[in-house]
Symmetry: C2
Subunit: 417 residues, 2 copies
């Protein structure tokens, strides 16, 4: 394979024109959309309109006239299309961590009523840390224990003691996808509820929450949904829980009638009860635009077409690293089987992972490092070209051969890695 | 008094030039900055730069290079200057409701250790509903009871049973200011902690949390701080609680070392432990700009000068309504004594409050209604002119005399009032 082969793949790619929907800086190969999605070209104008037109000119009336009031629900309806949820079942609000707290607390309370002897929340030890930290808090408050096992041991660990199975569908370190249908079914057989974090799945692959009869899900707005830095997150629950679900962050926008200003909390119907305070409208507007950009891609073969391209990109990257960069101590830690792999590829390096990533970034190939030893490469199919994969390999090979990662400026840690 | 008198007051007002820092629509008299502050002229460019430059061009590297990582702390340091807090003691993040949950849960846990027999959270029955709802949730979870009394009965209700006094400093309905020094001192004498919601105070009047030895405070970014719709809120605690304070929303950005990705939660030092998930950077950038705009006013005599003008505006409004609109069933419910009154004036009308406000808005005088019977008029001293007060009275008188509020379009309720 050579550069021309990659360029021919791009020329034949029916999704290639979607890249034009994004603004990507010249000279940068961006393989970090799994951390922060790229900016859609339409976002600047959309946000500017929200600032100048809706806020500046419309002022307080924009809660009605610009639709700010139901923006969390309208954005939620767009996310619903990506995750197998129905209209009215998703709201976009708060952060992933805050939403996880809500649903985990809620699911725990349901189990305290339905199966009070079950006091285990089961998760993966290498789940994203914020999920572990939030679960530790809920456990401490409600008298549960967190049982954290290796990813491959999850299914076996689902026993009758388990109250809740809480997993990130696609692991942030390795990109390994948990088998959502099997795990959810097994959880239900054992009387457990499921909480799925879709941070690295929503917008990157097909997810069908209803098909698997999942219980609760949350996810991130700033990765594959391209909502901008710190974009609001989302939350979903299966409607079978709607009448009984209570969540502890009982703010006024989750109230049945917030503008009655009544003294007593009464939850809104459905997912709106998972709202809390006033959402950040400017950031939510950017997320709305990110979703419009993603949804514009769906007529080109739907999420299946995006997923197909994502798999082709990651397959190509793995094959090229393993053939061209052999002998440089890089070890694949993502699944080799594409059905088990998300839209990222991770390698470990025993000692120089951080510095190699810094050297790549200096060459304009943006990816990231996850302590202690993981080099992560994300391949967002909306805007990543086969040529980008080729050029990234060229850069990686040059960094490894030159050993330029040993330079002091690449060895020194930055605040955000 | 006549229009010319009002215009002469504006001509002599040393703060009058500050209005130029804001973009206010032509033909609108905006008396609702207590609900949503107006847009600073600088905000559009600042947010556009964050979207296009920091996100679009800088991408993930902007967490380091554009200072996104410590933006909650840097914005917090600006808020600190307005509330008598010190640098490093405030973070801007999440919503007011979410932050209230954190501090109220935290304060309750402290009291469960220090004074386990105290199980009362004392508040005002007419506190903003979200504060009541969040307190109801914390009470239910931790075995406390919420005791809600009339505002004027708060001081007497602070007894040895009370664990926490939770108050909004300036009441959202009446604008009445609680006596923070007296209440805090009395709370401490009785072994209670204080949680102050500064939503209607921060940026509108002098607040000195250290001078009164307060315990915890939270507040809103989108009212007098002009941070834009749903701007992130803020949270403060007195450093004497820093070593022991734990809050339940233990997300990764409140971790001591978030980029170590360790499996166990360990809180950051100081107020950073009140962070949870990734904050909405675009909305936080707009808040940063709102604060810069407010801080630019401080060389013009400081918060004392802003407060002095605020008092003059509200005094003028009360006097003019009572003299010129007498006989129309409007009753002042804000304190007549200016020292007890925030930067708003509220009247009740027995039956037509909502419709009168709608008719005023139709005439370009923007204010709001709070169920069941309150007409609220906010006077942000940064951008409100004496002439605006005069014109608002003219419009109010015309609405009342014409009875145009009886028109069907003014009688019909909108989603957001």
């Amino acid at each position: 394979m050579n550069l021309q082969d990659a360029q021919e793949l791009d020329a034949a790619d029916p999704l290639a024109p979607l890249r034009e929907l994004f603004s990507l800086p010249e000279g940068v190969i961006y393989l970090d959309g799994n951390s922060l999605g790229a900016m859609p070209r339409a976002t600047l104008e959309r946000v500017a309109r929200a600032v100048e037109g809706e806020w500046g000119k419309g002022l307080i009336s924009s809660w009605n006239t610009a639709g700010w009031m139901d923006l969390p629900q309208r954005v939620g309806d767009k996310i619903a299309q990506l995750i197998g949820a129905k209209p009215g079942e998703v709201v976009a609000t708060d952060s992933t961590s805050v939403n996880l707290y809500k649903v985990l607390h809620c699911a725990s309370q349901l189990q305290l009523t339905d199966a009070p002897s079950k006091r285990i929340i089961l998760t993966e030890i290498d789940n994203f840390p914020t999920d572990l930290y939030i679960a530790q808090s809920v456990c401490e408050q409600l008298g549960f224990s967190l049982r954290a096992v290796k990813g491959e041991d999850i299914e076996a660990a689902i026993t009758n003691e388990v109250a809740i199975v809480m997993l990130t569908h696609t692991n942030y370190r390795t990109g390994r996808i948990h088998n959502m249908p099997h795990i959810t079914a097994r959880a239900h057989v054992h009387g457990a509820l499921t909480v799925w974090d879709l941070a690295h799945s929503a917008g990157a692959m097909e997810v069908d929450l209803h098909a698997v009869h999942a219980d609760f899900a949350i996810g991130c707005g700033y990765k594959y949904l391209n909502g901008g830095p710190g974009a609001p997150a989302f939350v979903w629950m299966h409607p079978r829980h709607a009448s009984r679900a209570r969540q502890p962050l009982s703010g006024w926008l989750g109230h049945a009638k917030p503008f009655d200003f009544s003294h007593d909390y009464a939850p809104a119907s459905g997912i709106t009860r998972f709202m809390c305070g006033t959402p950040p409208i400017l950031s939510l507007t950017a997320l709305d635009c990110g979703l419009d950009t993603l949804l514009a891609a769906l007529p080109h073969g739907g999420m299946a077409a995006l997923r197909k391209k994502s798999v082709a990109l990651t397959e190509m990257f793995i094959a090229q690293v393993e053939s061209r960069c052999a002998g440089f101590d890089l070890t694949l830690v993502s699944p080799r089987e594409s059905a088990q792999r998300g839209s990222q590829v991770s390698f470990t390096h025993p000692t120089q992972g951080y510095a190699i990533i810094q050297a790549l970034i200096a060459r304009g190939v943006v990816d990231d490092f996850r302590a202690p030893d993981i080099l992560r490469f994300g391949f967002t199919p909306l805007y990543t070209r086969y040529e980008d994969v080729w050029q990234a390999i060229e850069a990686l090979l040059a960094v490894l051969q030159s050993r330029e990662y040993l330079k002091p400026e690449f060895q020194q840690r930055k605040a955000v890695t």
